[in-house]
Structure formats: C-alpha cells, structure tokens
C-alpha cells in the first residue's frame, strides 16, 4: 500500500512529510508526494520550487522508502486534485498538515484541509507543525 502526502512548502507541509515517512517505514509502505499548484493564479505560494522537490526526493531516498514525487500543474482546487488522486491510487492513508484558520478566513477562502478530512475515502492523518 501507499501513503499519500499533500505537500506544500510550509512548516505544515514538512511536518506532513516527516509523519508520512515515519508511517511508511513502520509498515514497509511506499510514499507518494503530491504538490499542487493552481493554474488560475499568476503566482502560487503553495507551488513547491524545483529545488524543494529535489530536496524531497533526496530525503525520501535517504530514508529508504520507495517513493514518487508528483506535481500537478492544472486545476483550481487542491482538494479536488488530491481527492482524485485518492480515487485512482487507492492509498492506505492520506497525510496532511493543518493549521489554525480564522472563521472569516475559512468563510472567504474555504479550507482545503477540512474538505480533505470530511471527503477523503481513506483514513486521514492530520499533523501540526511544531
């Protein structure tokens, strides 16, 4: 089985990745890292820079788990993309990083984490940054 990680270049994203590697090691599983960047923005802060993806790849290789790093370039909603990936890849578990959001912020922008927690068809491990 695989463990799917929704990665963004933030402390939360890093925490999710660390947790996923630990999970995968414990159960001898593989890791699939997905980074989503929206195509309706000029600049997306959640797009992981090339160097970042390279570093991820190295970290995963060092830990010795079988892995794949994938970047999704199109679409407008990260939650949709990750839910799609769950349908096609059938992972045992999804790992995401979560953080505090204000009610207004959630109202205006929505919460990707909340949608994933409620709509994912597999168990979701939600971790926080230290």
């Amino acid at each position: 089985m695989t463990i799917l990680v929704g990665y963004i270049p933030t402390p939360q994203g890093e925490a999710a990745l660390t947790a996923a590697i630990a999970e995968a090691k414990a159960h001898d599983e593989s890791v699939l890292v997905i980074n989503m960047s929206r195509d309706d923005k000029l600049v997306d802060a959640h797009r992981a820079p090339e160097a970042d993806l390279g570093r991820l790849d190295e970290e995963l290789s060092e830990s010795g788990v079988p892995h794949e790093v994938r970047r999704i370039e199109h679409g407008t909603d990260p939650a949709d993309q990750i839910l799609d990936a769950i349908e096609t890849e059938r992972p045992r578990m999804l790992v995401i990083g979560i953080r505090h959001r204000s009610p207004v912020g959630k109202l205006l922008l929505g919460s990707t984490a909340q949608r994933l927690l409620l709509d994912a068809t597999c168990p979701v491990l939600a971790v926080k940054a230290d």
Binding site: R38, K41, L42, D44, A45, R47
Partner: protein, 532 residues
C-alpha cells in the same frame, strides 16, 4: 517666479484632507493595477471614469494622476519578480531586474527602481512646472492649421514609431478614426456611419470604447489563455540598497530622467523608447558591461527613472496642448471633456486652480508612492496570488456598470461587448491599442481643426500648410513615413553592389515594441529581442 507662486497656491488647494485622501487612493489603486499584468492604469482610469462623475473635476484628475504615476511604480515590481512586465513601460526593466531577482537581489532591484522612480518623478514634475507655461504661451499663438498639423504628427507618431509594425499601427489608427467618425457631423449636422441606428447618432462614448477595448478585450484574452502554470514565489524581503548600489544607481537615475522627460513630452513619445534608450546607454557606459544580462543594477535604475520621467513629460502636451501621448493621458483628456472643460492651451488660463492643484498633487502623490512602495513591496507582490477569475469578474462588473452608467441605455452594453471582441481581435493579431484610442479621442478634434482651417482658407488646401510650425510638422511626418523606404532603397542598393548586408538595424524601432498599456501581454515576449 509666477509659476512657483501658482504652484504654492496649488499646494494650498491640494492639502485638504479630502484631496489628500483621494491622492492616496489614486496612488494605491495605481500601484495595485500596475503590479497586475494586463491591467494597466489606462484600463483603470477608463473603468473609474463613470464613477468619478460625481466628484469635482479637480479631485477626479488628482485620482487619475495618482493612478497614472502609481502604475509606473507598480509595473516594475512585476517586471522584476516575475519577468512579466505589468506595464508596457516596464518591459525593459524586466531584462536586468528579473536576472537580479533570480540572483537573490530582488530587494536591491526593487529599491533602486522605487527610489529612482521617485527622483525621476520629482525632477520630471519640476520640469513640468518650468516648461509647461512656456509651451502654453507658445501654443496660444497657434491657429487651426498648426493644430491640425500637430495632431497629424501625433497620429503618425503613435502609429509608426511605437508598436511592432507600422502596418499594424496604422490599421489600429484607422479603426480608431472610423469609430471617432460615428455620429452627427458637428459642422453640417449630417449623420455619418450610424446606419440608421438612433442610439449611434450621438457617437460612441469614449468611456464605452476605452472600457470595451481595455477591460472587456483583456478579459476575453485572458479567458482564452486560462491554462497557464503558476510561478513560484520569489522571496522579496524589505527593499534596501548598499553603498555600492547607491554609487552605481544615481547616475543612471539622472540619465534616465534626461531621456524620459523630453520623450514623454513629444507628441509621439511614450515611455517605451526612452526606457530602451536608457538601457542601451547604461550598457555602453557601464564599468562592468559583462554584468549586463546577468543582473546589472544600472539596467534597472536607468529605465525605471526614464519611465517615470516620461510620465511627467506626458503631462506637458496633455495639459498645454490637449494632446495625449499615451493611452492613460488620452482617457484623462476624455475625462476633461466629460466635465465640459476644453483641453488645450486655454485650460491653464481658464482653470488655473485645477491645473496647479493637479501638479501639486503629483509631488505629493510621488512622495506617497515612495512610502507605499519601499517598505510594502512584499505586500504588493502578494496581489499576484489573487485567482484570475476573481479579478476579471470584478473588472467585467465595473466595465458593464460603467458602460451602462454613461447613458443608462442597454444598447451601450451590446456596443461594449462588440468593442470587447474588437479588443480581443487587436490582441490576437498584435495590433497596438494606443493608436486606436488616440484616433477615437483626437480624431474628431483633428477633423474640427482641419475643417476650420479649410473654412478659413475658403476650401483652398494651401490653408492647411500655413506657418512654420505646420511646415516642421509635415516635414517630420514625411521623414517618419519615408524612413522605411530609404532603408529599403539602401538595402537594395547594397544588395546589388554585392556587399553582404549584415543589417544590425533589422531590429530597429522601439525595442519592446509595445503600444498601449493593455496590449502588452501579447507582445511582451518581444522584449527578449534585446540581445545582451
């Protein structure tokens, strides 16, 4: 001394809480739209035109001038961080500025462009104070034939000098003139090109044309190119400059100002040519020319100063002659007409308070822009993360509201859509927008002056070439039009003599080659033709 006295009076008028607030609003909006590629000050002024009919003319102009100056500041931010010029005037800045950002010197590039813009804008506005009254006193003596000739120069200049090709420029100009002709002829009272549609008898309102071409056209263009990869965030940090950067920047700032102001003031000016010239000069004069192409700070400082100085220069013909030399000025002129004020040399005499308050507001706006841009550059860069659908939904909303508000008739909304499709076509085929807008706004005025001079001379065509000013103008037009023929003849001659024509002049013309603020998206990649 008289000017200074007037200027001080102007400061007195502008220093009211309301006017200061409007100036602040103007520069804030201006910076924001400057940052966003494809949305320029011209489009914004057009969108806000109907909204400002409730304001006093002076306050509306303070707002517009703030947007105009602010756009010049904001454009450089996008150029530097994204390599996508937010504004046609910042095309050249992107060449070195983006290289600097990639090398981790984004903060310095932003600082040199903001401080350079401030210095150039202040010097340029001072020059405006000194030069404009002289131009006005000269312009008052001009008659209809001279005006007609000067306007022709503006037409030819906007079409032939800027833009990627002359044919495209003239095509856009002719479309603009054709739109300008629609309506009742002011001299004979006949309907022209109305095809029996009653709503067209008054002509098409400039607001509808500008909003249609800039806003709806751009929105359609973006909608047709939706799927693009997002860029990564470049860490900005707080803009600052070291001693070395200051030392390397101050001369380019001054040289850029010297290029920018006169070019802005010429009837065929605009910011594209002086920024390009400034870049070339800095590359030639640089102590370390090998740095050019890898992020030389001089290549950011010079062009950025040039584009702000040219913005100040643009106001000379706009206020003194009623001649727009770029799209934003053209729409500001339309706004003046909307208030029932007649642009031209008499404006200063009839509305001295308006003119001097406007100029005083430029000094204040420029200072506000420095304060807004230097510490807040990272915040402005965040604007680039707004999803496009939100942005363009807002623009289309404002566009339709503005077009409907002009005459409160649904017909204008259909016109808006039709003109939007035209604007899309312009972008699709690389036609510059500036000649079209100038044609629409200046066309009827030029026709008026031309026919007036023909009436004065009793129908003799010779009446059109009265006076040395007109001679000079026609000579300039002849040179501009015949120049490519001369080139062609020279090339043919050298080809016949067997000499290999290496033709370094092939890329001649205006470097970035971009007309109109809104059109730059389609043509912006051409800036790469500047080989380092």
């Amino acid at each position: 001394m008289d000017n200074l006295q007037n200027l001080l009076d102007g400061f007195g008028h502008v220093l009211t809480p309301m006017n200061l607030l409007i100036a602040l609003l103007g520069v804030t909006i201006g910076t924001a739209v400057g940052v966003l590629p494809g949305i320029g000050p011209a489009m914004t002024v057009a969108l806000l035109l109907p909204v400002t009919y409730g304001l006093e003319p002076t306050q509306a102009l303070i707002l517009f001038a703030g947007i105009f100056y602010g756009g010049m500041y904001g454009g450089s931010t996008t150029s530097i961080l994204l390599n996508t010029p937010g504004e046609s005037a910042s095309v050249v800045t992107a060449i070195e500025g983006n290289k600097m950002a990639k090398a981790g010197r984004a903060a310095q590039a932003l600082a040199t462009s903001a401080i350079g813009s401030f210095i150039a804008g202040t010097i340029g506005t001072l020059l405006l104070v000194l030069v404009m009254p002289q131009v006005v006193s000269f312009a008052v003596s001009l008659g209809a034939p001279e005006y007609f000739a000067i306007m022709l120069v503006a037409f030819v200049g906007a079409s032939a000098v800027l833009g990627s090709s002359r044919i495209r420029g003239f095509a856009a100009l002719l479309i603009g003139l054709a739109i300008g002709v629609i309506g009742i002829d002011r001299v004979t009272g006949q309907q022209r090109m109305t095809y029996g549609v009653a709503q067209l008898a008054d002509g098409i309102d400039v607001v509808v044309v500008a909003v249609g071409i800039f806003a709806v056209g751009e929105a359609l263009w973006v909608a047709a190119h939706l799927r693009r990869k997002a860029a990564e965030v470049i860490p900005v940090g707080r803009p600052w400059m070291g001693r070395e950067d200051w030392k390397r920047s101050w001369k380019p700032w001054l040289r850029g100002t010297a290029y920018g102001f006169p070019f802005g003031a010429l009837p065929a000016g605009g910011a594209e040519i002086p920024t390009f010239l400034s870049y070339m000069t800095e590359r030639k004069l640089a102590k370390r020319p090998e740095e050019f192409g890898h992020g030389a700070i001089e290549g950011v400082a010079g062009p950025e100063a040039a584009n702000n100085a040219s913005a100040a220069g643009t106001l000379v013909p706009m206020l003194a002659l009623g001649l727009p030399t770029n799209a934003t000025a053209a729409i500001m002129l339309a706004a003046l007409q909307g208030y029932g004020l007649e642009p031209g040399p008499l404006l200063m005499e009839k509305q001295p308070v308006l003119v001097w308050t406007l100029i005083a507001s430029l000094f204040i706006g420029n200072t506000m822009l420095l304060v807004l841009n230097l510490p807040l550059a990272p915040a402005w860069a965040k604007l680039l993360q707004i999803p496009r659908p939100y942005l363009y939904a807002g623009i289309l909303f404002f566009a339709s509201m503005g077009a409907y508000a002009v005459n409160a008739q649904p017909f204008d909304l259909f016109l808006l859509l039709a003109l939007g499709l035209l604007g899309f076509g312009l972008r699709r085929f690389g036609l510059p927008v500036l000649p079209l807008i100038i044609g629409v706004i200046l066309g009827p005025l030029a026709e008026l002056q031309g026919r007036r001079s023909l009436q004065l001379s009793g129908g003799e065509l010779g009446g059109l070439v009265g006076g040395p000013v007109a001679w000079v103008c026609y000579a300039i037009i002849a040179v501009v039009l015949l120049w490519p023929l001369g080139r062609l003849a020279q090339r043919a001659w050298s080809a016949r003599s067997g000499g290999p024509d290496d033709g370094p002049d092939a890329g001649g013309g205006a470097g970035g080659g971009v007309g109109g603020a809104g059109a730059d998206r389609s043509a912006s990649p051409t800036s790469t033709e500047v080989t380092p």
